[in-house]
Amino acid sequence: MKIDCRQISKRFQTKNGIIHALSNISFKTNEQEFLCILGPSGCGKTTLLRIIAGILQPTEGKVIYEGVKDNNKPATALVFQEHGVFPWINVIDNVCFGLETQKISRKDRYGMAMPLIEKMHLAGFTKNYPHQLSSGMKQRVGLARAFVSGAEILLMDEPFASLDAQMRVILQEELLNIQREYRKSVIYITHDIEEAITLADRIILMTARPGQIKQEINVNLSRPRNVNGEHASEFISMRNEIWRQIKEEVDKTTAPLS
């Protein structure tokens, strides 16, 4: 399944006037692609993701879900920054939430979820409530829920932003592994340049508000990627180039009014 965004614009009416959040965004995902949307804070990344998820309606343009195979399954599944897992539901039922809404029996959904629960080191915690887990484990629950739901395209809004550096690296690796294994596409929002280069097949770089696409970057480095790896110099030069472009955008918003 592919997502085709066609000339999406979004304006919000607020007390202080109209906020132009997104302007004329068009792109299309490929099958099983890991796509990162990278941009300065306040550029409308989250708004874009919510529009793709169908929670928000665009002011102009439309989102087309191409090649939907099964109408019972959700087209997309969101993974939120934090607090996305229900605090009042235990781990296993949180993970199975997307199956529960499809009216799959409890026995079947537990059966479908268990392999991933084991893979994500959650097997010993199925009956625990989220407040008994570390933030890394909580985010594993959020990831597992999205992967189990049957959605072909997973939408992630800075899911690892609140984790410590070690946990983030571990979860990035786990995410790449299960994405390959479960053959899903991911649209991943981040403001972290290194994270985008580490994860993405393709990076869409956004401008400051109103958010537009500034540039598309294909990341063709072999994995695993990091600043110490095989392709350290390419990694670093890519990071510096992206940083220069983002700096341009940040400067626009902080420049004194003339």
Binding site: P74, A77, L78, F86, W88, F97, G98, E100, Y129
Partner: protein, 260 residues
């Protein structure tokens, strides 16, 4: 035995202080009466209250009064809090329903419900029904208000999750609205329980011939001082026990709270 000792050692310092302070106050009260620092015709000592309670419980009709009071109170509490829960959650969920019912709620909520007793009796007659209806009215509003607040306290992100995963309205209710509002709603139940006891006793003081409040009033009219104290002690104990039971129920149905 060693197990018990170990358990005693685990009791917190503050708990010991509380127990000691309570024991000290009771001791002072007992001494004040026994040593005639106060007039023992009006002030009865704790030990006398306990023995009188036991005596009345064995021989008199104290048990019958307590039973009558409890039945009235529980019926009224349930008759008020269950509709309060349902309508409150619905009002929290639906802005339209809230807009329709808000004016009525705003007017009736601050009204002291006991002021409605004559009107209620006028409409439904005398007997048990006006008492239970009064208690129900009193229990209804705190539950209603807290359920509305409970639904509004749910972070919007959980509604987004439900919507994104295609949850039906029914699933959204059972998986998000009901459990999400429960911690705040339960505070409303606790308030409602207190108000139920209050209104039960007030109604019994006013119009009943049975029940612990009626016994209290009769004891005052016939100046049986011991019985006045017994009635007050029993009412206090009822309040304590019911609150404690509600606490246990709350912990059972809200097992995800962090404060455990």
């Amino acid at each position: 035995m060693t197990g018990m000792l170990k358990k005693l050692k685990e009791v917190k310092r503050e708990t010991w202080i509380s127990v000691l302070a309570a024991a000290f106050l009771l001791g002072m009260w007992e001494a004040a009466v026994d040593l005639n620092w106060v007039n023992s015709a009006f002030i009865v000592s704790p030990s006398t209250i306990v023995t009188a309670t036991v005596r009345l419980g064995r021989s008199g009709n104290l048990g019958e009064h307590v039973y009558t009071t409890l039945i009235r109170m529980i019926l009224g509490f349930l008759a008020g809090s269950i509709p309060g829960l349902i309508i409150g959650l619905a009002m929290g969920w639906s802005k339209t329903l809230r807009a329709i019912l808000d004016p009525v709620v705003s007017v009736v909520y601050p009204l002291p419900k006991i002021a409605l007793l004559p009107l209620i009796m006028l409409v439904v007659g005398i007997g048990e029904s006006p008492i239970i209806l009064l208690i129900a009215l009193g229990a209804f509003f705190p539950v209603l208000i807290n359920c509305i607040a409970g639904v509004n306290s749910i972070a919007p992100i959980y509604f987004d999750v439900a919507q994104n995963y295609g949850a039906s309205r029914f699933k959204t209710f059972t998986r998000v609205i009901l459990p999400g509002s429960l911690p705040v709603a339960l505070a409303g139940f606790r308030l409602a329980l207190g108000i139920s006891l209050l209104l039960t006793v007030v109604a019994e003081l006013t119009i009943a011939t049975k029940g612990i409040g009626a016994m209290l009033w009769l004891s005052w009219q016939t100046l049986r001082v011991e019985r006045i104290y017994v009635a007050i002690a029993v009412i206090a104990a009822l309040g304590l026990i019911l609150n404690w039971l509600l606490g246990i129920v709350s912990r059972r149905i809200v097992p995800w709270r962090e404060s455990q």
